[in-house]
């Protein structure tokens, strides 16, 4: 509660400022809930907002890929191969098979973003489920899941991904599943830790006393209180998934032609490095920009959700004030 009071205080002051008359304060509105506070704080963070804008930009141009470019990303046109950027309608030129690079970039974006978000969503669901059950019940269930996590963490993820992709074939939904199955452990550990703490709280006891079912407690009462770190982790996972996808596709064990992804474009570009070095730049810049954007958003959400973060910022300001005061000689 005290946290909310601090939050509303500046607003009250501001309204006093604009209306110097002794007018009675307007009846205070319902204090903003924790979610509103987070949203407000998030939009005050310039990095996070920039990240959001960049990500939205990529989402929009990938979704509208067919509208933006008239070219089919997989259409081979050997008469127009290796065109320089800006030739005719080809904004970024064409590759060694005459495919329009700009169009390929946009369509790659579709795949990379789909993989990124689906993997994050699925692995968060798995991780939350495992962590919740493990943390709530404890005992042998917990031991089994924790050993499972140890096992998963002891095999390098990339090896496991390569193994599965090589064995089961390189379809996009396989890829999403395997990437999700190799990245849920972090969330599971986190959720387990939170549940271990929370299950001893009095409100859980109260809920149990009035006869709320175990599932009710796990998924309604506890999940809400564990949701902040889960969301942060999910956001940061999107970037990791996009990077993994590009790595696998680069190795030839991910997305296959005629479909296209940024990783696949990079592996292509390496073969034709001497002819057109620029081809390697575009997809890499796209990956970098998207992952950076997602990570900024994740960090922004984390900072916004962390009540301790306020202290950190004020300390920095405090230093500034101190400096100013010492200059002015007070």
């Amino acid at each position: 509660m005290s946290d909310m009071n601090i939050e509303t205080a500046p607003n009250v002051q501001a309204s006093e400022h604009t209306e110097p008359a002794i007018a009675p304060l307007p009846p205070s509105k319902k204090p903003p809930g924790p979610w509103m506070t987070v949203v407000k704080k998030f939009f005050r963070n310039p990095y996070a907002v920039t990240g959001l804008i960049v990500l939205l930009f990529f989402v929009v141009i990938s979704v509208l890929a067919n509208v933006i470019t008239p070219y089919d990303p997989a259409k081979i046109d050997l008469m127009n191969a290796n065109l320089k950027p800006g030739t005719g309608d080809h904004l970024l030129g064409t590759d060694e098979l005459g495919r329009d690079i700009f169009s390929r970039l946009l369509h790659s974006g579709q795949i990379s973003l789909t993989v990124g978000f689906s993997v994050a969503a699925i692995s968060v669901i798995i991780g939350t489920l495992v962590g919740a059950i493990s943390g709530f019940f404890g005992g042998w269930i917990d031991t089994i899941f924790m050993r499972l996590i140890d096992v998963m963490n002891s095999i390098p993820t990339l090896f496991l991904n390569i193994l599965v992709m090589a064995i089961f074939g390189t379809k996009i939904h396989y890829m999403i599943m395997i990437l999700a199955f190799t990245s849920w452990m972090g969330v599971a550990r986190l959720v387990r830790g939170t549940y271990l703490q929370l299950r001893e709280m009095q409100y859980v006891e109260a809920a149990r006393a009035i006869g709320v079912s175990r599932t009710g407690i796990i998924f309604r009462h506890l999940l809400r209180n564990a949701s902040f770190p889960i969301i942060v982790n999910a956001t940061l996972m999107v970037g990791g998934a996009i990077l993994s996808e590009s790595g696998l596709s680069y190795l030839g064990l991910g997305i296959q032609a005629p479909a296209t992804s940024w990783g696949l474009m990079l592996s292509n570009s390496q073969e034709f490095m001497l002819i057109d070095p620029l081809q390697a730049i575009y997809p890499g810049v796209c990956i970098l920009a998207v992952v950076l954007a997602v990570n900024f958003i994740g960090d922004g959400i984390r900072d916004a959700m962390d009540p301790r973060q306020k202290k950190k910022i004020s300390r920095r300001r405090l230093d500034k004030w101190r400096k100013n005061y010492s200059k002015s000689g007070i």
């Binding site: 924790m146 050993r147 499972l148 140890d150 096992v151 963490n153 002891s154 095999i155 390098p156 993820t157 990339l158 090896f159 390569i162 193994l163 599965v164 992709m165 090589a166 064995i167 089961f168 550990r189 986190l190 387990r192 830790g193 970037g239 990077l243 590009s246 790595g247 680069y250 190795l251 030839g252 064990l253 990783g263 990079l266 570009s269 390496q270 490095m273 001497l274 070095p277 390697a280 730049i281 997809p283 890499g284 990956i287 970098l288 992952v291 950076l292 990570n295 920095r316």
Partner: protein
């Protein structure tokens, strides 16, 4: 301590056993199993049967597992399907090459990252600190192999300063100077990746220690700042750094796969990718198991070291590293 040691050891062995089950199970879960994978498409069913019998693939799966595991424990990694070479002969040289690459990159990264992180912890939000922050953001968001490709284009093709790929020039096999020359580009890629995390670890670990009461006491007593940093703070800050680095071993073993592929480095990661493409299961299983052994051993040693170095850690606490 002994009790903890034994329990942790048994745990590690259990994990390794489960990993061997996973590795073996995955390959036998493949549609058609290993038999179908290794047969040429035109082979008649009879020949396939004889072949499978020769390789012991017609036995029940649990029996096959036991045979495979006992062979592994004896140090017999099996044979490749294609040329019937002993797996060890294919594998061990690449392990050496990966270690050369990784050890070099890791050493340089630690040499830069730890002093840098310590320095940044003393000048928070300074130019150096902001640079480190920038480097780690880029390092985390950039695909390492892309950075490798860019370096190749710039330094090998455009400027022609450094070799494009491989470990040695054709006529200078085994020459150490030549090896160093070839190490520069792949190492730069790996070092950036390590720097991104290690300098942050070092910084945050130092910052945490610098807020402790005994540091304030030391300063209040008039201990010179240099001594406070290096004697009082650094010693305590190094403990978490060591643990985190120990837990990072999987990256050290498996993390060079993409870099090796970009630079055509004849290491274990690249071998794994090649063997996955040609479905040489015995090699894949061997690599998976060997990396797992290294990783589990690394975690085990890090845990034990942690307990020895840091007397505050409660002995015999359940669950080892809690989240």
């Amino acid at each position: 301590m002994t009790e903890y040691f034994i329990r942790r050891l048994l745990q590690s062995i259990l994990v390794l056993f489960l990993i061997s089950l996973v590795a073996f199970g995955l390959i036998h879960a493949a549609p058609g199993g290993p038999t179908q994978m290794m047969m040429a498409p035109g082979v008649s069913p009879e020949t396939a049967k004889i072949q499978a019998h020769n390789l012991g693939l017609d036995k029940p799966v649990p029996t096959q597992y036991v045979i495979w595991l006992t062979n592994m424990l004896k140090g017999d990694l099996g044979h490749t399907f294609k040329n019937n070479l002993p797996v060890g002969e294919v594998l061990w040289p690449t392990v050496g090459n990966t270690i050369k690459l990784m050890a070099f990159a890791w050493f340089i990264a630690l040499l830069i990252a730890i002093p840098w992180g310590i320095y940044n912890s003393t000048k928070v939000y300074g130019i150096s600190d902001q640079t480190a922050n920038f480097v780690s953001y880029i390092g985390f968001a950039m695909p390492a192999f892309w950075f490798g490709i860019i370096l190749q284009e710039l330094f090998s093709l455009k400027l022609d300063w450094l070799p494009l790929s491989d470990m040695y020039d054709m006529d200078k096999q085994g020459n150490f100077g030549n090896l160093l020359y070839h190490l520069i580009l792949p190492c730069s890629v790996l070092v950036l990746g390590f720097l991104a995390s290690y300098s942050k670890y070092a910084r945050s670990s130092m910052l945490e220690v610098l807020e402790q009461d005994y540091i304030r006491t030391a300063r209040a007593k008039g201990v010179p700042e240099r001594k406070v940093i290096f004697r009082h703070a650094l010693r305590n800050a190094l403990i978490p750094i060591i643990t985190i680095i120990g837990l990072d071993l999987p990256i050290l073993v498996g993390g060079a796969t993409l870099t090796e592929s970009v630079f055509n480095w004849p290491g274990m990661g690249r071998l794994f990718v090649e063997m996955a493409r040609s479905r040489e299961y015995s090699v894949l299983m061997a690599i998976t198991l060997i990396t797992a052994v290294v990783v589990v051993a690394g975690n085990f040693i890090a845990d034990i070291l942690y307990k020895i170095v840091d007397p505050r850690v409660k002995l015999g606490s359940k669950g080892g590293k809690s989240a």
